[in-house]
Assembly symmetry: C2
Homo-oligomer: 201 residues x 2
Amino acid sequence: MSRRGQPNLATPGRRQVILEAALACFDETGVAATTIEQIRDRAACSIGSLYHHFGGKEGVASALFIDGISDLNAGLLQRLDDCSNAEQGVRTCVLHYADWVTRQPELARFLVHAREINFAPEARAELKAIYQRHFGAVFTWFGRFVLRGDMKQLPPETYIPIISGPIEDYARLWLSGRTRTPLAEVAEVFAEAAWNAVRAS
Amino acid sequence: MSRRGQPNLATPGRRQVILEAALACFDETGVAATTIEQIRDRAACSIGSLYHHFGGKEGVASALFIDGISDLNAGLLQRLDDCSNAEQGVRTCVLHYADWVTRQPELARFLVHAREINFAPEARAELKAIYQRHFGAVFTWFGRFVLRGDMKQLPPETYIPIISGPIEDYARLWLSGRTRTPLAEVAEVFAEAAWNAVRAS
DNA sequence: GCATATTATAGAATATAATTCTAATCTAAA
DNA sequence: TTTAGATTAGAATTATATTCTATAATATGC
């Protein structure tokens, strides 16, 4: 028993428990409006524990964000492995995003709506490294098809917005409840549009 | 002189002064991290005044958001008036967004990054009405060209993401400093891609 | 196994920020 | 003028975030 009469509830999974509690709170109330206290309640942990692992709400949000993005990115690279031509690759970018959002809407909602996280310098650096590695890999994958003339030659920084922008925009719409049509029902339309936008004409 | 030795600085433009101060704070520090105190300092007003006009930070953000969206929307409808065919219309949607963001990057940054505002019910209702009116007008404008066969027939809720998603995605990139290439330099690419994605094939 | 270092938990104490509230002042209309 | 409503002021209060010290659990070296 601790000094103040409560047992110490240390568990190896405490970090994960806090992350899940936080995600549920963020999803119900929004990141800005959820309090440390709410997360603490739902995770059934102490304030000290929460600060020990994450250093505050900002830190919880950062960790959640980095985990989410990493999972999303890793999934895409895995699926690109099975593609053998430019059209398949482009369609996979769109369809994977739609699948992923459909499978974990709470996490997706968090990623999409939480653009206002004030990442700590280390988190910022980690995120930057993640992006660089990911986009590097994606560009490597697609590069040969541009060189080979299967895809239009465009300013490099425009490919991702052109291919992924529309499905991401629609996902935001769906996640916020402003449209009912599930992603699965329109994903093909976006895949088709993306391919039309970048295929060599 | 007031009870506590300070003159009352009432001005008719106080509301606007607060909005501008808030935007500057939001842009420098992020919405989540700016405090009422910071806004109060920059606007040189009292806490009472701020709460009187907006009811808190949330209210300031809501007003700013509604003003910004309204201006963006109004501008588009105005420019669509001068268009006489589908291609011009589609390109105008893209180019107007690029122009608008370039002209007021701070406000654009706020609109784009502040997806986490907890609008009060009235603000939410107002925003919904604004969106309905705007998208209603835009769909009316484009409808005839779809009927006439100049544009692809697609699920209605996919047109806007397909046309505007990419330029919005790129604008986010540019506004957050992750790309240097100005919108004006790539806007044509996006206009072209948008038209290719929706033109009748 | 036992001592010791490291990591994790707890929650009271403190610091910071949001919000409310009452009084004073301004403005415009009668 | 007078007066009602709108606006401003800032102290007081309330809510929330953060720090800090004491314990307890766990891992590590011997």
